[in-house]
């Protein structure tokens, strides 16, 4: 046995989907988290309900690098259908656990192999009724693993109690299976691999959550009043989380509701409803993924042109078309930037962490209402559906910004003299009124056709151009309201990196690795479109700027080139996507490829 490897390895568990393994896997994740060790978990599941291979990867890293690892050190094979692949996947020197009822060959001798008597153990569990055996069987591998690498059983209990909402019976039934697995392992297996966990204190004060829940909570703290949605993976759990948390967080004594969540008949209707609500003065949103977003194009254009505040969450999966519905990407960026026919410019927020999902959840409403525009928030499946460590959610640090609204008393003061699309404040943002305001001059007529400053129909060429120029000016004003990029300027950096969203852990890990190897790199994480002044300033400061993203076409790089033509020659694209969350390896390789290659050839993606 080689030297111990402590708190720095990754685990992959191969099971059958619909078999209940996800409870087991998140239990492992949570228990490790509660041991104070930085950990991440990624669910790689098929677009199907039951019976297909599914994998879960767990990475523990004492230094907090938690991107997906390319190769697992420990593999647990529970599924005969993926057993052979799973075995092949183990990193040399790694560990292979397998359910011993799978009678398939072990054709590697560079890994440690542990059979697990899953079936036998579960059969011996008296408190598990036969119809639940297959489900609870997953807990047995949790127990075996726990014993072999040192997961604290008490922390497993905590995780189970949490999962089963403190209900004693299921908690104990599952915990007993874990214990049985652990006991069996203690009695039957001999540790001969180097991988061990040791408690730390690096997760103190942190929480563990998924981005969709965080987004929903953020929206609730943003005062969400109306949401319309249509089911689609990986966005559904965002709307479902609204249904979960709203009744609790917005409970009133009279039992009445201050919000509505509507499952629409499709995505066109979902955005249409949200626009109706936003127009009428509600904090309104919808959440969807690629195919739904494509269906929203026409309405998105209307919201832009008629200046209706609305928030659109796009939890990206991998396209084009239906694509891989259960895999992640950052592939919708250029589409959203140019969504709908005609000239238009999009406000896009790009969260890269659970806490940003929460923050942007409430900020998006402030921005949408302040600017009277649709605000797109681009999350992705990895961020949205996987559990991530996070700092706790922070209560909004400023009051809600409801934007420019004229009510009865304002109209009274103005003697009814106002124009819906008048740029009175010279910031491109006009004032609006809301249906239900009882003043004879409150009403105006909203339309997607040409209109003048008083919302009157117009085909006048000058009126058209004037309005479009004001919208452009308004987009300039947006810059004051969107989250600024996070810049890490490194003295004497060889190049700068630009990235965004869920690739952050992979990029930061790659950057750290390269720094360790002597390659200094600055970094700028974009958090919104329109770009703000920090972005060109950053590009100017470096000779080469590498834009890293999880798509094929280098979409952010394209947008940057178009926004800053004079700086475009400095930009290089590292773009790769295959449905799996980004790993430090491809980021690192992509960076190196550009730094060892003449500029002119490097405009291509990886």
């Amino acid at each position: 046995m080689t030297q111990k490897i402590v708190n720095d390895f990754s685990i992959m568990i191969g099971t059958v989907n619909g078999s209940g393994s996800s409870t087991a896997n998140t239990t492992i994740l949570r228990a490790i988290f509660k041991m104070g060790i930085p950990v991440s978990g990624k669910n790689l599941f098929p677009s199907n309900i039951q019976g297909q291979p599914t994998w879960y990867t767990v990475r523990v890293n004492k230094d907090g690098f938690l991107a997906r690892d390319d190769q697992p050190h420990i593999v647990i094979a529970m599924n005969p259908a993926s057993y052979t692949r799973d075995l092949a996947d183990v990193a040399p020197g790694g560990v292979f656990f397998y359910a011993d009822d799978i009678k398939l060959p072990i054709n590697r001798n560079d890994v440690t192999v542990y059979p697990m008597a899953i079936k036998q153990i579960i059969r011996e569990q008296k408190d598990v009724p036969p119809h639940l055996r297959d489900l609870v069987a997953n807990m047995v591998y949790v127990g075996v693993l726990a014993e072999m690498i040192g997961i604290d059983l008490e922390r497993i209990y905590d995780a189970l109690a949490f999962h089963f909402k403190k209900r004693e019976k299921p908690t104990m039934m599952n915990f007993n299976a874990v214990k049985a697995g652990a006991e069996w392992a203690r009695a039957n297996l001999t540790k001969s691999d180097p991988f061990v966990l040791e408690p730390m204190d690096k997760t103190n004060g942190l929480i563990m959550a998924d981005g969709n829940t965080a987004a929903a909570l953020g929206a609730i703290y943003g005062g969400l009043q109306f949401a319309a949605w249509y089911p689609i993976t990986p966005a559904s759990s965002l709307a479902e989380a609204l249904n979960d948390y709203l009744p609790m967080l917005r409970k009133r004594e009279d039992g009445k509701r201050t919000y509505a969540v509507v499952q629409a008949e499709d995505e066109l209707a979902a955005l249409g409803m949200a626009i109706g609500a936003g127009w009428a003065g509600l904090r309104a949103m919808t959440s969807t993924s690629g195919p739904g977003l494509s269906l929203m194009a026409e309405f998105a254009g209307l919201a832009y042109y008629a200046e209706v505040p609305v928030v659109i969450w796009d939890v990206q999966r991998i396209g084009p078309s239906t694509g891989l519905p259960t895999r992640t990407s950052q592939g919708d960026l250029t589409f959203v930037a140019h969504i709908s026919h005609g000239d238009k410019q999009s406000v896009i927020l790009l969260p890269s962490s659970i806490s940003e999902c929460f923050e942007f959840g409430w900020q998006a409403f402030d921005i949408a209402e302040r600017l009277q525009m649709p605000v797109f928030v681009l999350s992705d499946l990895d961020l949205g559906m996987n559990q991530w460590m996070s700092k706790p959610f922070e209560y909004p640090n400023r009051p809600m910004d409801r934007g420019k609204i004229l009510r009865e008393e304002d109209l009274e003061k103005l003697d009814g003299n106002w124009g819906r699309y008048l740029d009175v404040d010279d910031d491109g943002i006009p004032w609006r009124t809301l249906p239900g305001i009882m003043h004879p001059k409150a009403a105006y007529f909203t339309r997607g056709t040409g209109h003048d400053e008083y919302a009157r129909y117009s085909e006048d060429p000058n009126v058209y151009w004037r309005l479009m120029q004001r919208l452009k000016k308004k987009y300039k004003t947006v810059e004051q309201y969107v989250p600024r990029p996070i810049v890490q300027q490194v003295e004497g950096a060889e190049a700068g990196l630009i990235f965004y969203g869920s690739t952050e852990p992979a990029v930061e890990e790659a950057r750290a690795r390269l720094a360790a190897a002597g390659l200094k790199l600055s970094a700028l994480r974009i958090r919104a479109l329109p770009f703000t002044e920090e972005v060109p300033a950053f590009i100017e400061k470096h000779n080469t700027v590498i834009v890293i993203e999880m798509n094929r076409d280098g979409q952010m790089c394209q947008l940057l080139c178009a926004a800053y033509p004079a700086l475009a020659p400095k930009l290089r694209s590292v773009a790769y996507v295959d449905g799996l969350p980004a790993s430090a390896k491809w980021v690192q390789e992509g960076i190196l490829q550009h730094l060892s290659q003449p500029a002119s050839e490097s405009v291509q993606s990886l």
Binding site: A228, A260, A270, G276, I437
Partner: protein, 350 residues
């Protein structure tokens, strides 16, 4: 509040809330002279004026088409949202959550509703959204210059378009199949009936689908076309004579000569009085309505009147149990959970 209270002994030109008919007007129409849609706009103005609804309490929705332009031509003091082709229902559905005390009047066309808008139409009906949904039905696309819409009758011949071969969509039957709670049909050439049905439809709580044959004088007004003035005038077959009696006018009902009348009470206490004509027709029986429509289809009858009504099903917004204050008047205090709660939420996250 800018509404004046009803004045005792107000001069004839004002309604019960002291407004004149002028207060209900819209912009001058830009539709063709003689277009059925104009006549409907006029009846909407009169109905709202006579019902004494403050115009600020009405909100207008439409899609795209000549018909969908018409909210411009009535009720200038009401908010309006002229949205996208076929998507009026969703915009209205969302907007109506903002203030459930508002009355919603939606105007759509047959293309807007029965072609591109079929899906949203069926779903807004199914949800029983509390709005008047008018289909200004002319069998063609007016605004794009006279192509067949999905309500064009089989055999209709139009310039440049040839002869229609496909079965027409029957708006009323579709509404009933989708479980509408109020379904009516009328003819723009019968303004009195249009007006009474408008009043009843506005008073109805829940979806009120109102299919009005509204001739397109420019593209589909040939004598023998189902949606023409001539054909309508010659063939309209009213199911009953119809009178809307507002809740507060109990007395009026007594004024009506007794005998062959049927009274349907709406949710707010107002009453629709139906005076029997040739046939016995009870608009509260769903399958009688289906049967009548099927027969009318087969025989090419333009049957008008109140086809179906059911006044006790909760409307869409009813099912949400909203607070009494209009949602769009709630403040941060009502909407943002208290600071203390964030701790609890974080604890819930594991």
């Amino acid at each position: 509040m800018t509404q004046t209270l009803p004045l005792a002994g107000a001069p004839q030109q004002v309604n019960a809330i002291g407004l004149t008919r002028k207060d209900y007007l819209g912009n001058p129409t830009t539709l063709c002279q003689g277009c059925g849609h104009n006549s409907i706009a006029n009846q909407i103005i009169t109905a709202c004026y006579e019902m004494s609804i403050p115009p600020e309490k009405i909100v207008k929705f439409s899609g795209i088409g000549c018909s969908s332009k018409s909210p411009n031509y009535f009720l200038n003091r009401s908010f309006g949202f002229n949205g996208l082709h076929g998507r009026m229902p969703s915009v209205a559905t969302g907007a109506l959550f903002a203030d459930i005390t508002l009355h919603a009047i939606g105007v759509s066309g047959d293309g807007d509703t029965a072609s591109i808008g079929m899906g949203q139409f069926k779903h807004v009906v199914r949800r029983n959204v509390d709005m008047l949904y008018i289909v200004e039905n002319n069998g063609v696309y007016g605004l794009t210059k006279g192509q067949f819409s999905a309500t064009a009758e089989v055999g209709l011949e139009l310039k440049k378009q040839g002869v229609n071969q496909y079965m027409p969509v029957d708006i009323c039957m579709e509404a009933i199949a989708a479980n509408a709670t109020f379904v009516a049909r009328s003819f723009a050439g019968d303004p009195k009936q249009v007006k009474e049905l408008l009043k009843a439809a506005i008073a109805h709580r829940g979806i009120a689908v109102f299919d009005i044959i509204s001739p397109c004088v420019t593209f589909n007004n040939q004598e023998n076309a189902y949606h023409s003035y001539t054909w309508g005038k010659d063939h309209e077959a009213p199911l009953h004579e119809l009178l809307f009696v507002p809740a507060r006018d109990e007395i009026m009902i007594e004024d009506i000569e007794p005998g062959a009348t049927l009274e349907v009470e709406l949710h707010d206490g107002s009453v629709i009085v139906l005076k029997k004509l040739e046939r016995d027709y009870n608009p509260t029986h769903r399958w009688e309505a289906l049967k009548m429509l099927e027969e009318a289809q087969r025989n090419n009858w333009l049957v008008t009147g109140l086809i179906y009504v059911e006044s006790n099903r909760p409307s869409f917004t009813d099912t949400f149990h909203l607070v009494d204050t209009p949602l769009n008047r709630l403040t941060e205090k009502d909407l943002r959970p208290a600071p203390e709660t964030i701790e609890m939420v974080n604890r819930m996250m594991f």
